[in-house]
Every structure is written in structure tokens, then in C-alpha cells.
């Protein structure tokens, strides 16, 4: 097949629909290796978008390339947990063996090696992606073998299968991870709550919502969700029942009564991997929760926005969806109810943390750059395609399915009075048993640490870089919305770890992931990164630290979205709690060396091959 035939086949499969651009670009790149200028033109013409807009989308996402980046593209996950497991040495080793500079493509166009934001394998690192397939547990031996395979141009299919194995590492389960629900149980329970023979919908093509008045089932299911007091598990903690109710009652003026359910599986917060495990171990629970949401709000279409790093889950998840269709749990007449229609499609992201933010996610789902929208209006009234849309986290949907089956009262009895239910924690870093731990809300950090075999703990980063960093004095605090809210990450640091380096890693993360829409976040995150690098290089001063505080205030005040608001948290927390880690590195506490003449001469020294005393301006003490 010629390249243009390949592109056209993909375009046809997606009905030349521009809102499917992300999928079109990914599939095209998977087949052709990269997105050449002529490729983008062809796609733009077919979907009838301005070419520049297509290029704008392609240029936004880390996993799309508009220039060739090698037949093998190796991306090392560069979270602090990968760092702690030695990924820097392994990357260096790989580059040396391939005669390659990190970030560059080899001259024969064979391979490039670079870093990427956390790939969600923190409990089994050092991790990497090769041609966007996840590889775990890298070792020096694996690096050597991998270099051989790349040199011999062995297809990925011939690489050792165990390299691509991703373990669930479920160490403690509770209601979600231990549930014994059969597919369809929750849906049948929903339907049973309505009148035995719910009123027939007038036509299969009409939305279920149109029969809502006649059938009390959806309203009764909503009552259970509200009664449960379930709050969102994605970080912000909005009450799920209220969100669903608002979407269900959002007025649609123009006669288009479509509503949408979106499952946020972007899971980009470094240190978080519980959604990956839920989608691996409990996909039915998640899909069932989405279907319950569709039933409640009257939506007939759902999307899972799955982060590009989890590409390997696409085929297994599609297989589960196909099975559920065959079981009558998706499609038309679900659970035997005429008029109850719902289906789910999986959309892959392409390497952009910001797409976890719900309005950026929706933009991406529409094929655009993942830039957060101006709000109001909110997705519950103006979401996907400007229709009322529920966006919830993977874990929120899983809990919803259980609530639909076992009732809100039951769920409310678990956890604390303000935080009902359980929370799944993704634990990594300095502990013997990293992995997945599900606890009822209200559990203290001090209870979790011994359970995962953590000793001599110095600090815990809860909820990822955008969350909070706590020290020993705070371990009595609880995981709960009323104390320490969390999207699920817990990265543990023992007393040998340098908390400055932890914060510096996070500063690099935010600078790399800022969408660049607003000035404070776009420029400020890069300035922060530079401040941290300056301190690391020994050129920092008290002034640099003040600068960080200043930029922090600006980001808090003027940023467009949560990324900017939280981008300074790691620096702020560690400066407050681990100040010596910074001060140790300051050149002097009150003088600013903004320009170091001697180091400016380093390049000249390198070029002339000199490093004698006479080639230095000052003798370092």
C-alpha cells in the first residue's frame, strides 16, 4: 500500500471527522513513522480543517512528531522515582552504546533516545517507552540486549515479551479491588429499581432521556449516588451526584439532546498509576460505572480518554468492550430495557499532562490542542461538542458501579463522615513493597508507611508534584478530603534523599507540561526550572530563593488553570520544610552571581583542549 493509501484508509475509518484528529494522527504515525508535511496537508484537506490547525494539534503533543525521530524511539520515564532507581546511568549507558547524544537522532535515522514525563510505572521502574510501548524494570543487561536488538533492527514483536509485562502489584484491596460483582449486576440493579416493566421508549433511536419522565429508574439511581456522598477521585473532589444531576438537568435549547460521559484516564500526575491497575484488573467495573452514568444523565455515548503511555491497554480494553456488547451490556436495549442505549469508545492521548484537566481533555477529544477552556461555562452544560458532559475519574466510575449495586447507604458507611468510601493509593519510592493499596478514607500516613515496608522516611509527596510534600511531623495526618486530599499518588523519600533534587525534578516536569496558553505559566514554569538549575549548579543565592517565592505568588494569582496554580507547590513546600537542602547549595546567602565569567570560558577551554590553571579566571576553593 502506498503512503497515501495508508492515510486514506485511516481517514475513511474515521469518517474524515476532524474531531477524531488525535486518533487519525496517532494511527497514521504508527504506520508511517512520522507526520510529514505532505501527510498533514492530506489529512487537513480530508477533514476540511485549515492545515495550520492540524499542524497546531500535531505540534502540541509530545508523542506526535512532525520530523523523523528514528525508526526506534526510546523515551525514558523521568519521574523522580525512576531517577532514584538509577535511570540516568542507564540512559547514559544506552546512549554511549548507540553512539548517540540524548535528544538527537542517530545519523542513519535508526534511533533516538530521550526522556519523557512519568509513564505511570513507578512501582516497576526504571521504565521507558519504545515506539510508545511501555517497558518496565530496566537493568544494565536489558539495556545491552535492547541496544543489540535496535542495531539489528529487530521488530518489536520479536523482543522478549517479559520486557513489556506490566504487573498490577495489588498489595491491599478493599471494596473496589476485591469486589465480586458480575458484569451487568449494577445495571440490572438500576433497572430493577424502576418499575418492573419500565415504559417502552418510542424508538430505539431516541435517547433514553426522553423516557426519563416515564421511568423513575434513572432518578432512583441518581438518588443512590447522591446518598453515597461520593466525591470525585481525580483530585478536585467535586460531589459526583451533584455533577450528574446538573448534567442531567442541563437545558438544551437547540433540539440536540445528546449528552456525553467521559472517563478521565489521562493519569498524568507523576507517581500515580492506580487508574492503570483499575483498567487492567477491573475494567468491567469502570465501564459499568460509565454505563450507570449514561443511564442517569441520559447519555448514549461515552469516551475513555486513555493516556498515550497506556497504548498497550487499548486492544485488551477494546476486547472487554466487545464482550460487553455481546453480553447486552453496551449498545441498544441494555439489560433488556428498550430505549436504554449506551456505548463506549476509547480515545488515546499523546503525551500531554494538561489533558487530564477536564476542559483541556475535551478540547483534545475534539481533535484540538489540549488547552484549558475559559470557564464558565463548565463541561456539565457545555462539554464535548458543546453538549452537557460528565467528566469523571476512572476510580469515581468504579465506585459508582458499586454504589448502583449496593446502595448509597452502604457506601456511606465506609470511610469518614466527610469522605465516604475507599481510596486507592499508588505507592512508590523508598519502600519494600511499592504498588497499589486500597484503604478506607481516614487512614493515616503513619498507618500506610509500615504496611508498604517504608523505613527511615524523611518525606512523603502526596498526590504528585501538584499535591503536597509532608515531613515526619505530619505523618499522623489522614488521607481524606478534610485533611490530605489526594488523587492517589504517594512517593516516599527516606532520609538519604535530597529533597531539593525532588523539587527540581518536579520543576522540570511542570515546565515541560505547561500548555503555554497563559503568560505566567508558560514563562513562569521555565523561569522556575532555571532558578532550580541555577541553585543546583551552585550559582544560586538568597535572591534566587526570593525569586521563587515571587513567581509562586504570580502563578497562584494569575494562572489560567490548575497546572499553573500548583506548579510552584513542590518548591514552596520543600523551601518551607527542607530549607537546608537549598541553603547547602547557595554560593553565598546574600550575593547574586548572575554571570560566572569562569564558567563562561568553559567552551573556549574545551575547544582549545586546555584546563590548566592559566585557563581559569579564579581558582575554585
Amino acid at each position: 500500500m502506498s503512503e497515501t493509501d495508508v492515510i486514506d484508509a485511516i481517514l475513511d475509518r474515521h469518517r474524515r471527522d476532524g474531531t477524531r484528529l488525535m486518533q487519525i494522527l496517532r494511527e497514521t504515525q504508527e504506520q508511517l513513522g512520522w507526520l510529514a508535511p505532505a501527510t498533514l496537508t492530506r489529512i487537513a484537506v480530508a477533514i476540511d480543517w485549515p492545515r495550520a490547525k492540524v499542524e497546531g494539534t500535531a505540534g502540541f503533543y509530545s508523542f506526535f512528531h512532525t520530523r523523523p525521530l528514528g525508526r526506534y524511539r526510546v523515551l525514558w520515564s523521568d519521574n523522580i522515582t525512576d531517577r532514584m532507581l538509577g535511570n540516568a546511568d542507564l540512559t547514559r549507558m544506552m546512549c554511549e552504546k548507540l553512539w548517540l547524544e540524548a535528544g538527537r537522532v542517530s545519523e542513519d535515522g535508526l534511533v533516538s533516545v530521550d526522556t519523557t514525563s512519568c509513564t505511570g510505572m513507578c512501582d516497576q521502574g526504571p521504565a521507558l517507552l519504545v515506539n510508545y510501548r511501555a517497558v518496565t524494570r530496566m537493568t544494565p543487561q536489558r539495556v545491552e540486549q535492547m541496544v543489540e536488538l535496535i542495531r539489528n533492527e529487530a521488530p518489536l514483536a520479536d523482543w522478549p515479551a517479559e520486557w513489556f509485562a506490566v504487573a498490577d502489584n495489588i498489595r491491599r484491596g478493599d471494596i473496589l479491588l476485591n469486589n465480586a460483582m458480575q458484569p451487568g449486576d449494577a445495571l440490572r440493579a438500576c433497572v430493577a429499581r424502576g418499575p418492573a416493566a419500565g415504559k417502552e421508549a418510542s424508538s430505539n433511536d431516541r435517547s433514553w432521556r426522553e423516557t426519563v419522565v416515564a421511568n423513575p429508574g434513572p432518578a432512583l439511581a441518581l438518588e443512590e449516588i447522591k446518598l453515597s456522598n461520593l466525591r470525585g477521585r481525580g483530585g478536585a473532589g467535586f460531589t459526583t451526584g451533584l455533577k450528574w444531576e446538573a448534567c442531567r438537568s442541563a437545558s438544551v435549547a437547540d433540539g440536540d439532546s445528546r449528552r456525553f460521559i467521559v472517563c478521565n484516564a489521562d493519569e498524568g500526575e507523576p507517581g500515580t498509576f492506580k487508574d492503570r491497575v483499575l483498567l487492567t484488573a477491573q475494567p468491567d467495573l469502570v465501564f459499568e460505572g460509565m454505563t450507570v452514568a449514561g443511564y442517569v444523565v441520559g447519555a448514549t455515548q461515552g469516551y475513555v480518554y486513555l493516556r498515550g503511555e497506556y497504548r498497550y491497554l487499548l486492544d485488551p480494553l477494546n476486547a472487554v468492550l466487545a464482550r460487553r456488547r455481546a453480553q447486552g451490556l453496551l449498545g441498544r436495549g441494555i439489560a433488556g430495557q428498550a430505549g436504554f442505549s449506551f456505548d463506549i469508545e476509547i480515545h488515546l492521548g499523546a503525551g500531554a499532562y494538561i489533558c487530564g484537566e477536564e476542559s483541556a481533555l475535551i478540547e483534545s477529544l475534539e481533535g484540538k490542542r489540549g488547552v484549558p477552556r475559559n470557564r464558565p461555562p463548565y463541561p456539565i452544560t457545555h462539554g464535548f461538542l458543546n453538549r452537557p458532559t460528565v467528566v469523571n475519574n476512572v476510580e469515581t466510575f468504579a465506585a459508582s458501579a458499586l454504589i448502583a449495586l449496593q446502595g448509597g447507604e452502604w457506601f456511606r458507611g465506609i470511610g469518614t463522615s466527610k469522605s465516604s468510601g475507599t481510596k486507592i493509593l499508588s505507592i512508590s519510592g523508598d519502600c519494600l513493597h511499592p504498588g497499589i493499596y486500597e484503604y478506607p478514607f481516614g487512614v493515616t500516613i503513619a498507618q500506610v508507611l509500615p504496611a508498604c515496608g517504608a523505613r527511615d522516611v524523611h518525606a512523603v509527596q502526596v498526590s504528585g508534584p501538584s499535591g503536597i510534600c509532608i515531613d515526619e511531623t505530619e505523618f499522623k495526618r489522614r488521607i481524606a478530603f478534610e485533611d490530605i486530599p489526594t488523587a492517589g499518588a504517594m512517593m516516599i523519600f527516606n532520609d538519604q534523599r535530597d529533597m531539593f533534587e525532588v523539587a527540581r525534578n518536579f520543576a522540570h516536569f511542570f515546565a515541560h507540561e505547561s500548555c503555554g496558553f497563559c503568560t505566567p505559566c508558560r514563562v513562569g514554569t521555565s523561569l522556575l526550572k532555571n532558578c532550580m538549575d541555577k541553585i543546583a549548579d551552585g550559582h544560586g543565592s538568597q535572591h534566587t530563593m526570593n525569586e521563587i517565592f515571587q513567581i509562586n505568588r504570580l502563578l497562584q494569582m494569575a494562572s489560567h488553570c490548575g497546572l499553573g496554580h500548583t506548579a510552584c507547590n513542590p518548591m514552596f513546600d520543600t523551601l518551607k520544610k527542607f530549607r537546608p537542602a537549598y541553603e547547602r547549595r547557595l554560593k553565598t546567602l546574600d550575593f547574586e552571581a548572575s554571570f560566572d565569567l569562569d564558567s563562561a570560558l568553559a567552551q573556549a577551554r574545551q575547544m582549545t583542549g586546555r584546563d590548566d590553571a592559566g585557563s581559569h579566571l579564579e581558582t575554585q576553593s
Binding site: P37, A52, E55, R369, N374, A511, T525, Q550, L554, A558
Partner: protein, 246 residues
């Protein structure tokens, strides 16, 4: 009934400002002759909310005034020392992010970024320059693009899309690598259908989109903001720049 005729008002820095339903804080303020600094806002386009120069405090909480709908009784702080300081920081960030050599820039004196910097008393760029590598595009017979000065306000994107219906401009990249691109496979302006009569020609607040061969028609010193500060002449009515590009 009498309420119908009573003007609804809100407060900016203690002063009563009337507004019409559906207006944003920025629109109502400008209509009433109250200046709030802005770069990405333009009365003809849907507010964008990206430059954040227009950040104010509403009942004590920060907000973007160009996207915020007014409500009666809102108390807005704008000209406070704290907010001016933050706006100066934002300007400094915009200056170091690009390459702005005002003395040799054709837009000097007509440039809103420069004018705001004067108005807010920005004395230095403060931060280390990024010195990005942004080659100019001189491929169009009549138009020069100097990307070095782009502040990514997307006004040209909006004008070319919404008014000219040509979509000549768009943004690509992400974060600090975000940049303006043009609508052609070669990436060159000369291969687009841009023309000097496009509205996109006249909306750029800085000196990116320039007409060739008309440089310095108005001498420096007699330009729009050379004598009167931007805060005292902020209508976006046709100005020296517009006339000059026609």
C-alpha cells in the same frame, strides 16, 4: 418598573461603573473610560484570556477581567500596588521570552507591549533572557514576519480566521516552545493567501506582522504612544499603525 431604567453598576477602585447585561468587566470598564491594561483583548473579538495583563481582584479574589462577566455590586481592585507589580512581572516575562530590541524595531512607539512597559514603569527586564531562535519570514512579497517579537496573543489568528476567513495563522508547540505558524506546507508566508488588506495585518499589538517598504514612515518620537501614554488613549479605533498599513 422604575428599576428598569436604573443603571446597574459595579465598582472599580471605588468608582461606580455602569454596565450592560452580558458585558465583561473589561468591556464595561473600557466603555466607561476606565483603563485596565490588556494585550490579548480586542473589542472586536471574543475574549481570549491568555496574556493575564488584565488580572484584577474581584471581592478580594484574583480574576481575569477580560473574560469575567460583570455582576451588579462587584468590587474590583485594579490600580493597586500589588496588581501593578504583578503586571510588571508579566511584561518582563513577555520581554525575556522573545527578542525585543526596541531601538531597531519598526513598531517602536506604536507597540502596545512597549507602551505598557512605560506606563507601568518597568525599568528592566529583570529575568535572564531566553534568546529564542526565531528566524524571520520574508518570503511574502509585501509582508515581513518577525517572530522574534511575537507575544502569542492570537489576535492575528482570530482576525485571519474570524474576519478574513483565511486562517493564515495558528499556534503550534507547547509551553515555552509555543510558536506562531502559518498555513502552508512549506511553512512560509509567501505560500499562503495573506494580503496586506487583511485585518490580520493590523491587529498585532507588537511588531511581528509588518508591511514591507513602508518602514519608519512616521518618525520615532511622533508615534502613537510616544507622547501620550497607553492608559490615556486606549480605544482600538484606527490608529497611526492601521493607516500606515493601508
Amino acid at each position: 418598573m422604575s428599576r428598569m431604567n436604573e443603571q446597574q453598576v459595579f465598582l472599580i477602585d471605588g468608582r461606580d461603573v455602569p454596565f450592560a447585561p452580558g458585558q465583561t468587566v473589561m468591556q464595561a470598564a473600557l466603555d466607561a473610560g476606565v483603563y485596565i491594561p490588556h494585550l490579548c483583548f480586542h473589542p472586536q473579538f471574543k475574549p481570549h484570556g491568555s496574556c493575564k495583563l488584565c488580572t484584577v481582584k474581584v471581592n478580594g479574589r484574583p480574576a481575569t477581567s477580560c473574560t469575567l462577566p460583570v455582576a451588579a455590586g462587584m468590587e474590583i481592585e485594579s490600580e493597586t500596588a500589588e496588581l501593578k507589580d504583578k503586571r510588571r512581572m508579566l511584561l518582563q516575562m513577555l520581554f525575556v521570552e522573545g527578542n525585543h530590541f526596541c531601538p531597531s524595531c519598526e513598531k517602536s512607539g506604536n507597540c502596545k507591549l512597549q507602551a505598557l512597559a512605560y506606563d507601568l514603569g518597568m525599568m528592566s527586564p529583570h529575568y535572564d533572557h531566553f534568546f529564542p531562535d526565531r528566524p524571520v519570514d520574508a518570503t511574502h512579497p509585501e509582508i515581513l514576519l518577525d517572530f522574534n517579537r511575537c507575544i502569542l496573543c492570537e489576535l492575528c489568528v482570530r482576525a485571519s480566521g474570524e474576519v478574513d476567513r483565511k486562517n493564515v495563522f495558528a499556534l503550534s508547540g507547547r509551553g515555552i516552545t509555543k510558536h506562531l505558524i502559518v498555513n502552508s506546507e512549506s511553512g512560509r508566508l509567501g505560500d499562503t493567501d495573506m494580503s496586506t488588506t487583511d485585518m490580520a495585518m493590523s491587529v498585532c499589538p507588537v511588531g511581528v506582522i509588518l508591511k514591507k517598504r513602508v518602514g519608519f514612515a512616521v518618525p520615532v518620537g511622533q508615534r502613537k504612544y510616544d507622547t501620550i501614554p497607553i492608559s490615556e488613549q486606549f480605544g482600538d479605533a484606527p490608529n497611526a499603525v492601521l493607516e500606515q498599513t493601508r
